[in-house]
Symmetry: D2
Subunit: 359 residues, 4 copies
């Protein structure tokens, strides 16, 4: 950490900062330039939850320092996340998902193999789910997506079938030999959802629902953490750090678009987040072009772009009859459109030296 | 709702839309222009949670329609919130807070009187809280703020004293005759926090934590709902609608800054949200210049601006010794700075024909 | 255009709108619903520069209507741009660039062939330019980029070599058989820059410099129009419409990242703009991953993503010694990095059924 | 400047940086921590336009350094603007405008007195302008606004009356004893506009039109520089620095709203920019609530908020008959609304110890 003093700061201001640092178990090393004094801070001792102990990555100390008299700004040198960083863990993380019903008994994500996760936005009926699952499995999707508990911006929207939806997901899983990913919205639902899901999804609105992050961190289930709709990369990795810090290392990230001023698309997909996460972190990253664009006609090109940029998998909404979808119909592919997409996705994967896991 | 067809749409596309509408209990009225056909939709029947019944404010139907062949876009005519709208409830809502320890036995928010809510960001110790409460009460604050459960971007940050902090808030409430506002972060904590708080605060990260909104909606406690850090005004009012739709009409909104590209301030306060909420809704609105700017030196001018723009109250962080604050020290006022602010705030209130509630 | 009246509007309000429309040569068709009246507007007569004549795409009338008593909002049905729209011109536009020094005598952009534009951010010296041009030409770039007039955020930054830089570009063009693209910053420089450039570049800061757009519109030179750093897709196409409306149909668009809250990258590349432009417009679109990310390590993955998404070409900064670059060194590739990128770019192009123009 | 090295950097990487700095006339002082090495940079020599000389505020060097091997990031310590900064010029700047036709012969902006600038968005006719000017002068506006050259997002919109509009402004100026502010859009128009205007306005789309900034910098005319619609505070002050660096010290800033995700307002007014500019700079700052909100009903509350936050003046659109305005009718006040606003604005000014200049 580096404390930059104002040009107008006084010697007592500098002394004040040095004493403050000492009181927090740190040492300050002032360097007096012609225009300005800067103070290097040494002694950070790593992550710690104890409020009194201020470590190198404690986010609080910097804020307090910024408020001291004579201080212009505080520059952080270390990254505030550790377990999620590539510096801490240089090799790529591979998340292994136990799936008794697939041939090998497990699926891996984050390897050179890509995972296709497809299915309806929301589980609506047995027929809808089974038709979709069968079709996407046949085309090469190995993981079935489908919402049983759904966040809805309006209290009058459809909020999902709940446990009945989970049961249908379990049925499709066995029937077609797929893993299941579905969202969990509140801490008390974690045990129930874990019974049916192979991967727990944390939705964009809950990226900073810390009590929920704590709870899924205490399980060993793979967790897919969607980026908050206006979260910085750093905040996203800090949310992953919540889960990791409880001992659950099976964290997968998912880029799903961020909020910008553009109105023609529902969100703006930050495709650069894919290679950036690969540099800053060791965690696998999935791309969601359905939520990311909100437009069916953009799903295929954005799928191809995500693969070319290095994504470890895709999350795509498919509905046998999007006209009748209870949610997000405009962004769901038909089964035909999904069949059109898959070989193109495979071709781009191959051009970048990779291939989709298919069993 | 109005369905705008593409210039290139065919008659069968139009027929398809008309039949789709009929199947959902609505009627479509096409108007064929030279360049384009638009279809007016009649028959919306108001809010309804039943998935099959598509009402005027059902958010789903429009999305599905946008995906039909030949459809260019769907234009919504009605607002998607109802109970929160001024059209539904033309008079200003006044929220009454029962506070046995103040002289009248209650405080009202949303009247011509302004409420000053002040106190530390986080409850850290009995001494810190009691000193601050006594001082801000003396200067004219009638409501004490202070976090016992704190969201922290980093898992290594301070997350609050929990129940011990709530007890200290209860003690300060009795000692100085103030109401208490404090945050609740997860549904299972609602009963506990309600024991000590006169107003439940929903933080910015939880604005779309729907299970939590449902839960506070089922109480009768006043709820202050902070705007999500990238929430539109419409999404914010829809979050309020969640609480209102469960029967709790004691909802207060709080503007706390939105996320933009600007880096010098922590957030960009959207002061225009204050008069805008007054036009679109009947709910009271509070301004939080501490979180809204993240800079102590901007709290006073932004307090004055909020009052001039019509805010019903302020939420301000005050700490007896900001250098030692465990959270957000850089944006907390000292007690002296708060004393400097109050008469200036009162002068601007008076210039706009209002005054602060002081007992 | 559709005028949506407030729920509380009166009959005289509706009459007022109808008379207003009539006074502007339009006819209004009210449709009275249970909750609300909407008024369809007919009679728009297409683009017209004459202030008094209000056409279907005149941006002014809607704004005025929104201010009339009883009016809730005005919904535009037609797109405000015409010459740039795919509805007006369904086939892809191919821009032909006359380049006597290449073997065919011309290069086309917007065909199934992709164009690689590479070179230094800024022309700094003969040696720097010639070395770079020779190297990128050898690797497959057919168009040389290089700034002679450079916008600089600070008045103390390097603003380019001016005419001397143009002359060096002209020299490299002949020496290596390439086309040249370079920026023009002000209307009076258009004739001079046109002497040396095969494509005139309009930079992001000048996307709405209308006097400059008018001026390049009056030439026949191909123009590459960069997206403004916070421009919507619609504003960008309207800026293209300025150039097209003067009779210059050789317009190429360039996505170069937009401004968001993210701080780790210089801009956020909106890759979805590439397929979106292909749907809304017939104009070719180029991607600039150097400016778009500001980070050398992201240029290759974002190049591949752009190609997969359907871009018609790339604009990439290459410098023989980025450590010594006078501008934007951090985002320039070395020649070695560019050599690494080209075969990978070609592989992804091939996977999507396309190939780079190389002569 | 401080160079932060990666945790994984090598000694040769550090040596490389030190030699690089030496080659640019600077000295690097490495400080080797447990986790990381940081290098303090000394020797910056202030603003300089010569490309070879890298000063403390040269924006280029940092970018190049960020690209060197082993470098994590470069932290700037000094502000990149100098003449615009309060550190350089601690006292408030007062801009004096010579106006022979007002009683004192001049008007000052940036003093404790506030300036009201009012008038139509666009000059449309003699009658429209004279009626408006007379009315706003009577209510207390001392400066007349009105556009003769207008930027229009669409090429089919109204672009102003040009020189005929300027002549009408000149006529109104003499008739009612007001100063005139009007926009200049391109360098070659500066002499013409200067004949009629007392203050040259640079519009939001031209904030980074550097050739135009250079040109107005070479005059002695007061210049009002609007904030770019997505400009950071730093970029805005750097644009002011362009004008100041040519010797024109009569620069006034104008906050006019920034672009965010919110759709209900045209822009989001950044009221916090007002007190922030007062801290970072010595230049006067004006607020434009008409453009800033795009909604007539928000102009009055945002005017009051701006004054409370410390603005030195207001820029407000007034039209005798907004229904007939050729531009921006929805955000123009009627004369009656302006008459309603003025006494309220004066009351808030008085509550903050200030008053409007009225002659």
């Amino acid at each position: 950490m580096i404390v930059v003093m104002k040009a107008s700061c006084t010697e007592p201001d500098i002394e004040h900062v040095l004493i403050f640092l000492e009181n927090h178990g740190l040492s300050g090393h002032p360097s007096r330039g012609v225009e300005r004094t800067v103070i290097g801070v040494l002694g950070g001792v790593g992550p710690s939850g104890t409020p009194g102990v201020i470590g190198g990555i404690n986010p609080t100390l910097g804020e307090v320092l910024e408020g001291l008299p004579g201080v212009e700004s505080v520059l952080r040198v270390s990254k505030p996340y550790k377990l999620a960083s590539r510096e801490f863990h240089p090799e790529d993380t591979t998340v292994t998902i136990d799936v008794p019903c697939v041939s090998k008994g497990y699926i891996t994500i984050g390897n050179h193999e890509l995972a296709m996760m497809a299915g309806p936005c929301t589980v609506e009926s047995e027929k809808q789910l089974m038709t979709t699952a069968e079709a996407v499995r046949k085309e090469g999707a190995i993981i079935l997506r489908g919402g049983a508990f759904k966040p809805s911006t309006s209290p009058y929207g459809f909020r999902g079938m709940g446990e009945a939806g989970l049961k249908l997901l379990g049925k499709a899983r066995s029937a077609f030999g797929m893993a299941v990913i579905t969202e969990v919205m509140t801490p008390t639902d974690v045990p129930l959802v874990s019974e049916y899901a192979d991967i727990l999804q944390i939705g964009t609105r809950n990226m900073q629902n810390y009590v929920l992050l704590d709870e899924v961190g205490r399980t060993k289930k793979p967790v897919m953490l969607k980026r908050g709709m206006s979260a910085t990369i750093e905040e996203w990795l800090l949310a992953a750090e919540y889960i990791l810090s409880h001992g659950n290392r099976n964290v997968i990230l998912c880029e799903r678009g961020i909020r910008t001023f553009e109105k023609v698309t529902r969100n703006t997909m930050d495709i650069s987040a894919i290679p950036l996460i690969k540099r800053l972190s060791h965690l696998p990253i999935i791309s969601d072009p359905s939520q990311g664009t909100g437009r069916r006609d953009l799903v295929e090109p954005m799928t191809l772009a995500s693969i070319a940029a290095g994504a470890d998998g895709l999350l795509i909404e498919v509905h046998p009859n999007p006209d009748e979808a209870l949610k997000d119909g405009a962004q769901s592919l038909t089964i035909e459109q999904f069949s059109h997409l898959m070989p193109r996705a495979q071709a781009v994967a191959q051009a970048t030296g990779r291939a989709f896991v298919t069993e």
